[in-house]
């Protein structure tokens, strides 16, 4: 016949029967052969362009959930901005390895010269994208500019606290002098090194495996740096596409216009990429990650300052059911902040098991007897994120069973986050990402780190824990450090300023056309330079 698709015919019928159609129009529509090309053209215009986007073997298309604010490593703080700058455009002195240890990057090796001194030896072949060699002076320049209060980098204060001086010994050797011994120092050095010649007009001149090419609101394009000192990357270009809506993300991936999505899909939409037709086109990689979902208490609240109440709440929440049904099993039950497999993780630690009866008796003991089934009211703040709200409702339901009336208040992200930082909350749940070194405990629970000076938002204060955390910072002996953090974990498990919920797995949906991709524990882009693409 005349090559009609059923869809075109349906559309035509729908148009023909529209009440407003004029007789002339209808006659025109009735001439099927005449209108077919027109309708086909209309359809072509509305069909998503990606259908024709030939899969280019030189181009790796990676999906982002949101556009990074900036790629400038001096100011980038959001996850995507940091990852693209640190792992692709620039190169730091050292990187976090797969096993959570520190591995070489620009620095081929390093040594500790004194309890407060470090010496780094730079890779001699490393070059910036303009051809100039990466030298010790660039490292000095990078650190000094970050620490300069005038530059106002968000990384400035933490570096100023710790670093006394950075000196170039020769072109490829650089010395760091710290103000005091700091055990986690190396993990703070994943800072992208910038060229001292770049100046203000070339903020994205790096030495990493990719050069910055261009960006638009929904796209960032990087091209291969052929002179990368550890060998050129496997693909010519990486195109990051920003897709904000989660359903659109699923559809785009299904359609085939995206090669790789890391942690970008709703958890209940992951399984479909493992089976059937989609399973033939995609591989789903899943591995434990460094994120930590927790429930935070306001410890200055009259009710929640009582440890019995906190323990009761911990026993009242059925975390395993949440993991099975809401996380669809893509998470591991957490016993503490540190990721599973961390050498500092206290083995044998257990989270308070789900036990509503015990919770009720703890609340009785705390002096909150149930009157008409209700003991007290608390509020739980959350963002408007759908999963976060559902999680809140499930916790609300669990607490109601033990007589705690929990009111869920959901706010737009900015308001919610500001309230949490200000301490204007009773209960909330958030997630820390990229936790690897136990020194993070200092930031979260040391009494000197109450906002606005740090992130002890629950306002925990315990002199004994303070002392341990201070010792942990300066203890340079690995065994001693472990023993300190084991004790820290024991204290926190007893005091429960947080209830540990789960560690999210990293999940990557990878096109079968890609080879060489691996999941890094941070869920980052460390392995993109090794990816190769074989045909469509």
């Amino acid at each position: 016949m005349d090559g009609y698709s059923p869809m075109i015919r349906r559309l035509e019928i729908a148009m023909g029967t529209t009440r407003g159609t004029t007789p002339v129009m209808r006659r025109w529509l009735d001439r099927r052969t005449g209108c077919a090309p027109v309708l086909a053209l209309v359809l072509l215009l509305f069909l998503p362009g990606g259908l024709w986007a030939a899969s280019d073997p030189d181009e790796l298309v990676v999906m982002l959930e949101a556009a990074p604010k900036t790629l400038d490593p001096v100011y980038a703080t959001d996850a995507y901005g940091v990852r693209i700058a640190q792992q692709l455009i620039f190169e730091p002195l050292v990187q976090l390895g797969d096993d959570l240890t520190i591995v070489p990057a620009l620095a081929e090796r390093w040594e500790r010269t004194s309890p407060t001194g470090y010496r780094f030896y730079l890779a001699r072949k490393a070059r910036f994208h303009d051809g100039s060699p990466v030298e010790a002076a660039d490292v000095v320049y990078t650190l000094e500019s970050l620490m300069d209060p005038v530059v106002a980098s968000p990384y400035g204060p933490a570096l100023r606290d710790k670093i006394a001086a950075v000196r170039a010994v020769d072109a490829h050797t650089v010395d760091f002098e710290l103000k005091a011994p700091f055990a986690a120092f190396l993990s703070e050095l994943t800072i992208p090194i910038r060229s001292r010649h770049a100046g203000k007009d070339r903020p994205l001149l790096g030495s990493g495996p990719f050069r910055f090419e261009r960006r638009s609101p929904n796209e960032i394009v990087l091209v291969r740096n052929p002179d990368f000192h550890r060998g050129p990357a496997g693909v010519e270009r990486i195109v990051f596409k920003v897709v904000k809506d989660e359903n659109t993300r699923v559809l785009k991936l299904r359609k085939g216009s995206i090669d790789l999505a890391i942690n970008a899909l709703p958890l209940d939409k992951v399984a479909q990429f493992r089976q059937g037709k989609l399973g033939e086109r995609f591989t789903v990689l899943e591995a434990p990650g460094l994120s930590y979902q927790y429930l935070g208490f306001n410890l200055q609240d009259p009710i929640l300052s009582n440890p019995l109440v906190r323990r009761a709440i911990a026993h009242a929440i059925d975390v395993d059911t949440l993991i099975t049904h809401r996380q669809k099993g893509h998470s591991q039950r957490a016993t503490g902040l540190l990721p599973p497999g961390s050498p500092f993780e206290l083995s044998g630690a257990e989270s308070p098991p789900y036990d509503p009866a015990l919770a009720a008796s703890l609340l009785d003991e705390a002096g909150y007897a149930a009157i008409n089934g209700s003991r007290f009211k608390i509020s739980y703040k959350t963002s408007t994120d759908r999963s976060a709200v559902i999680q809140a409702r499930v916790i609300q339901n669990d607490l109601r069973k033990v007589g705690i009336e929990m009111i869920v208040r959901s706010y737009e992200w900015g308001t919610f986050y500001e309230d949490i930082q200000k301490g204007n909350f009773q209960l909330f749940s958030l997630r820390w990402v990229g936790v690897s070194d136990p020194d993070f405990y200092y930031e979260l629970f040391h009494s000197s780190r109450h906002p606005p000076h740090g992130r002890n938002r629950v306002r925990y204060a315990n002199p004994r824990l303070d002392r341990l955390l201070e010792e942990g910072r300066t203890a340079l002996d690995e065994g001693q450090r472990r023993r300190i953090y084991y004790e820290v974990q024991r204290i926190l498990a007893r005091d429960l300023p947080y209830i540990s919920l789960w560690h999210n797995n990293n999940i990557a949906v990878v096109s079968k056309a890609l080879t060489g991709f691996r999941l890094h524990p941070t869920g980052g882009f460390h392995y993109l330079p090794r990816v190769r693409k074989t045909g469509p």
Binding site: H325, V389, I390, R393, Q396, N397, I407
Partner: protein, 275 residues
């Protein structure tokens, strides 16, 4: 009574019976009618389809949709009645004063109404709730802050017509005070159009509450508000349409019924109106 009257009256009774049985009764008697606790969740039953025990199935959190629908009537009823009562009391009082006193009072109040009406209603409600924070009380306040204008304008117009009637002049001649004339002699004579307006206003308030809750600005999460239920279902529309259809149908039914009630009342109470 003529034929039009009886037909109109029959329609009125049918509508009242429908609203009474389908909306008022469930709303008022929710705790006794609902087969299950609307707040109880069971994640294992997430999105379960309708069954004998749960006639409308479960939502994503595993709560029974039928019971939530019944409790939802209560929220719609409460917000509808509260917002319209507050709007009507404020609006009618100001309308009476403006219409009866006239002069600069009238001028001032009516320009104020103009200012309020110049804003797109829903947008203003969203802005108000965003400033005051989400919650049903704030929804009622926001809807009342907008709703009074319609009542004020209508009341003022009616007062202008009734003010010159002889029984009003007689009351004034006998020395009755302004409030007495307004409340005893004018108000009873302008009630009919206000009642019609109230019926439309309830429909509008219920719809507005559903809209605000749909946008996450209404009832706190977990409250069985129809708008919020509809919003919950939006994300699983393809997999589980049984989550969003019942609240959607309920909103449509109730809003339609109140609008028809307003129409029917208007026909019955207005002798000049022809069908």
């Amino acid at each position: 009574m003529n034929g039009r009257g009886t037909q109109g009256a029959r329609r009125l009774w049918i509508l009242l019976a429908l609203l009474g049985l389908g909306f008022l009764a469930p709303g008022l008697l929710a705790p006794w009618i609902a087969p299950h606790d609307p707040f109880a969740l069971d994640l294992a039953l997430s999105l379960a389809p309708p069954s004998a025990a749960y006639p409308l199935g479960h939502d994503e959190q595993g709560a029974g949709i039928f019971s939530r629908l019944i409790y939802g009537a209560r929220i719609s009823l409460m917000v509808g009645l509260a917002a319209v009562t507050v709007s009507a009391v404020i609006g009618v009082l100001l309308g009476l004063v403006a219409g009866y006193l006239g002069g600069w009072v009238d001028l001032f109040l009516m320009r104020l109404v103009d200012v309020f009406l110049a804003f797109p209603g829903l947008l203003l409600a969203i802005a108000l709730v965003a400033v005051m924070g989400p919650g049903l009380t704030n929804v009622i306040i926001a809807l009342s802050a907008l709703g009074w204008t319609a009542f004020a304008r209508l009341a003022r117009g009616q007062v202008l017509a009734v003010r010159a009637e002889e029984h009003v002049l007689a009351a004034q001649a006998l020395g009755a005070g302004a409030w007495r004339v307004m409340l005893r002699h004018i108000l009873p004579n302008i009630l009919a159009p206000l009642l019609v307006q109230a019926s439309f206003a309830i429909a509008a308030a219920i719809l507005a509450e559903a809209t605000l809750s749909f946008l996450g600005l209404g009832a706190p999460p977990g409250t069985p508000s129809w708008g919020a239920m509809l919003s919950d279902g939006k994300h699983v529309l393809l997999e589980a349409p049984h989550v969003s259809i019942p609240p959607g149908a309920a909103i449509m039914g109730v809003v339609l019924a109140f609008n028809m009630l307003g129409d029917t009342l208007g026909d019955l109470l207005d002798p000049k109106r022809k069908r």
